[in-house]
């Protein structure tokens, strides 16, 4: 094993996350390579240093303040219908500008209505704003894997540069993978299209 390959594995070796075969190869390499042993020693010390960084405990009022906000949220009914309409409009418009609409049709026809909290949640996720922005493709699926992905995973989108996103039917990470296929400029363009549609709705 070369040092370069061994060093790429050292982090996982220290974390005990290597398969037994690779682990044995690393140990064999380390036994004969003082440079990599030093590298591993440095890495171990680095991890210890990171673990020494202090943290804070929640303030005394944290729990009560949190529960007050949660109870307030439960008591106050949300006016979700207009938001829901906007959301549906955004999705429907989105589907109109892309090639595949089958998934959306199925979604609209067969999906049972989410409850009030779910509906406001869909909007709060700020799908249009976060999904297509840098570093945030994870946000959507945290909140609504079951609702949004089935609606969106059939979507293909053609950018002005002519690039067409791959069809995503049946892929578990559909929307995330779709977004990842877009360049930053294309994300911006796609986002603008969607936002315009949402505003019109």
């Amino acid at each position: 094993m070369r040092c370069r390959l061994a060093r790429k594995q050292l982090s996982a070796y220290i974390d005990d996350e290597l398969a037994s075969r690779m682990r044995a190869r690393i140990e064999n390499h380390l036994a004969g390579c003082p440079e990599c042993r030093r590298h591993m020693h440095d890495l171990s010390r680095l991890i210890q240093s990171v673990r020494s960084v202090a943290t804070v405990e929640p303030s005394d009022e944290f729990r009560s303040a949190t529960m007050r906000r949660i109870r307030a949220g439960v008591k106050v009914p949300r006016t979700v219908v207009p938001l829901r309409r906007r959301w549906v409009t955004a999705l429907a418009a989105c589907c109109a500008v892309v090639l595949g609409v089958a998934g959306w049709t199925v979604f609209s026809a067969n999906r049972s209505e989410p409850d009030a909290i779910d509906r406001s949640m869909l909007v709060e996720v700020a799908f249009l704003d976060t999904l297509l922005s840098d570093e945030s493709t994870e946000t959507l699926s945290v909140f609504d894997e079951t609702v949004l992905l089935p609606a969106l995973e059939d979507i293909q989108y053609q950018t002005s540069s002519g690039a067409v996103t791959a069809p995503l039917v049946g892929q578990s990470n559909g929307i995330e993978e779709m977004v990842e296929t877009l360049s930053n400029a294309e994300r911006t363009e796609f986002r603008t299209v969607l936002l315009d549609m949402a505003k019109e709705g």
């Binding site: 790429k8 594995q9 050292l10 982090s11 996982a12 974390d15 996350e17 440095d42 890495l43 010390r45 680095l46 991890i47 240093s49 990171v50 673990r51 020494s52 960084v53 202090a54 943290t55 804070v56 405990e57 929640p58 303030s59 944290f62 729990r63 303040a65 949190t66 529960m67 906000r69 949660i70 109870r71 949220g73 439960v74 909290i117 779910d118 406001s120 949640m121 709060e124 976060t130 922005s133 840098d134 570093e135 945030s136 493709t137 994870e138 946000t139 699926s141 945290v142 909140f143 609504d144 894997e145 079951t146 990470n173 995330e176």
Partner: protein, 197 residues
């Protein structure tokens, strides 16, 4: 320490709208979530705000929580996403200011809580070393900082980190390796190579 075997009953009750049951989950995981947000964001006020928002969103979405995942992992997924969104927004607002400088200034005002009670000299030395590491962590990308925090502070397995980061286990492995290498480079560049070498 949170006990996951008791979580499922509290989660089940929370799904029926039982706010008191959810309150017990807040009690159980508040240190985890606030601590994680603090390490990611660098100041207590933002950490508690984001932690509150995390619990609120978790409560509202709890009916969609799948029992196959650990509740704590799910909470940290939400907390991580909200924290990164906040950092991104902050960056947009302060586009002309180097983010590390901003965090350094904020961190100077934060009270540190040592993990144990060593003697005064030793404690000072440890605090000073920890502070240097913490500053270096804020020079990493948000993704690299997140992944180091999830592993080295929260003690998550690569499998659990993959769920939080929404990526494959192999990606966790390579990203974590790169993140640690980058942290070493940052420490060396800051003249803090003694922290590991």
């Amino acid at each position: 320490m949170p006990r996951t075997d008791e979580d499922s009953d509290l989660v089940r009750r929370s799904k029926t709208g039982d706010v008191n049951a959810f309150g017990e989950l807040v009690e159980r995981y508040q240190s985890l979530v606030v601590g994680f947000c603090y390490r990611l964001l660098g100041n207590r006020e933002d950490a508690e705000d984001i932690a509150q928002e995390t619990f609120m969103r978790a409560f509202r979405a709890i009916r969609r929580f799948q029992p196959r995942a650990k509740f704590s992992t799910w909470l940290l997924t939400i907390a991580k996403n909200l924290s990164l969104n906040l950092l991104r927004d902050e960056r947009r607002r302060r586009r002309d200011v180097h983010v590390a400088t901003v965090f350094e200034e904020e961190m100077q005002a934060v009270e540190l809580v040592p993990s144990h009670n060593p003697g005064p000299d030793e404690a000072l030395r440890q605090d000073e070393r920890a502070e240097r590491v913490r500053k270096a962590l804020f020079e990493l990308s948000d993704v690299h900082r997140s992944i180091i925090l999830l592993r080295d502070f929260e003690g998550m397995t690569y499998e659990e980190i993959a769920k939080v980061m929404r990526c494959r286990k192999g990606t966790v492995k390579s990203r974590l390796s790169r993140a640690r290498d980058h942290l070493k480079e940052v420490l060396v560049a800051r003249g803090d190579g003694d922290l590991f070498g």
